[in-house]
């Protein structure tokens, strides 16, 4: 049962990453602006981070959906969600009004403050789903199960 729940968690988080990354691939400059809007990173660092995030999100999402290096991908996914939660909480605490840029967009948004709690809740739920996948030794319908198939009996079995 847990292994099927693991599959569900993989498909959910992986699907969210693929979508979030894919919509950002279209416009790298918008992605840089979205990172810059958090005012956390200096200009010279915001730029590479803005270029890096969309392909990283897509690859992590594909790995999770396919069940490829599942636990590693889920660990990276969890780290990214922690970073995004910290980022959103920090702009909220500083009283800034920005679009989180989670699914494209980004930058100044006069009605942003009311979205922060919901964005943090969403990311926290996805963080938990990622941690669940990290914790599970294996999940159903994963490429890992084919790639790392046991060819020898283990001791005691």
């Amino acid at each position: 049962m847990k292994e099927w729940l693991g599959l569900a968690a993989r498909l959910l988080t992986g699907g969210v990453w693929i979508y979030a990354g894919a919509v950002k691939l279209a416009d790298p400059y918008a992605s840089v602006l979205a990172v810059r809007a958090y005012e956390l990173l200096p200009g010279s660092v915001a730029e590479p981070v803005g270029y890096l995030l969309p392909p990283l999100e897509v690859v992590i999402g594909l790995a999770l959906v396919a069940g490829l290096l599942t636990r590693g991908a889920a660990a990276v996914s969890a780290l990214l969600f922690v970073a995004f939660i910290v980022g959103i909480a920090s702009v909220w605490a500083r009283g800034m009004e920005i679009d989180c840029g989670c699914f494209g967009g980004g930058g100044y948004d006069p009605d942003a403050a009311s979205d922060y709690p919901w964005e943090i809740a969403r990311d926290a739920a996805l963080l938990l789903a990622s941690l669940f996948v990290v914790w599970l030794p294996r999940t159903r319908l994963a490429l890992d199960n084919l790639l790392f198939r046991r060819t020898t009996p283990t001791e005691g079995s």
Binding site: P28, P42, P55, L56, P110, D111
Partner: protein
């Protein structure tokens, strides 16, 4: 006795074979992990490089400061540094930049350290963006660059929110008069959007230069982005010019 030894030997051989197979499997698994990780890093790295190559926001080919009809330049054209600022009167980051840098840039221009060209255009799809750029052009045309610069500073000092409410034509006229323009000379132009063509041309010129966001600050022809926010960017820019 000998029978027992034989059985023992067989068991030892089987155990050795099993250990060898398990070691092989471990090696194979490590190889797979390494190979998959390498492929993932290559895909992410490729995406990174493609993104970096596709981002044309730094490829801006702006006319030198003071060389266009679509802005107001302050300071000595022979100053050691040139700054060009593309901006929209409504864009909040432009407002932050102006409020953080305007006084210091005025001073540095007075001291002959920089020649600054402010180029307003319409980036945002709001009437205020167009009306303010039009009013700026009317004031520039009717009262000259010094009054236009005052008017420009005053628009940013009292910048409305992007969410509105937006001021009316009288507000622009009052500000123009405060800046030093004659009311009769600017009121019709402001009320009837008489410099609408100027705004369109300024916007086309910015677009042709590669500007598709605001503010874009160029220091000696290069896009200047050094800072986490507009306040920091202004501070760093001022420090470079000192």
């Amino acid at each position: 006795m000998s029978k027992k030894t034989k059985a023992q030997e067989r068991a030892d051989r089987a155990a050795a074979l099993l250990r060898e197979q398990q070691a092989k499997e471990r090696r194979r698994n490590i190889l797979i992990v390494v190979a998959v990780v390498v492929v993932m890093i290559a895909v992410i790295g490729g995406g990174f490089l493609i993104n970096a190559a596709r981002d044309s926001s730094k490829d801006i080919d702006a006319a030198p400061a003071g060389s266009t009809d679509h802005g107001v330049a302050i300071g000595d054209p022979e100053a050691p540094h040139q700054v060009v600022i593309y901006e929209d009167f409504l864009c909040p980051y432009c407002g932050q930049l102006e409020r953080a840098s305007s006084d210091e840039l005025d001073r540095l221009a007075d001291e002959g350290k920089v020649y600054v060209d402010y180029r307003p255009f319409q980036l945002l799809p709001y009437d205020y963006s167009r009306e303010s750029a039009n009013a700026f052009a009317v004031v520039l045309d009717a009262a000259g660059p010094e009054v236009a610069k005052e008017f420009h500073d005053s628009l940013f000092a009292d910048q409305p929110s992007e969410a509105g409410p937006f001021p009316d034509a009288d507000w622009f006229v009052d500000k123009a008069v405060e800046a030093g323009a004659e009311e009769d000379a600017v009121r019709p132009g402001i009320e009837n959007l008489e410099m609408g063509d100027w705004v369109t041309e300024a916007t086309d010129a910015a677009s042709a230069a590669g500007v598709d966001s605001t503010p874009v600050v160029l220091l000696d022809g290069e896009v200047y982005l050094d800072g986490r926010n507009m306040e920091e960017l202004a501070e760093n820019l001022i420090a470079e010019l000192e």
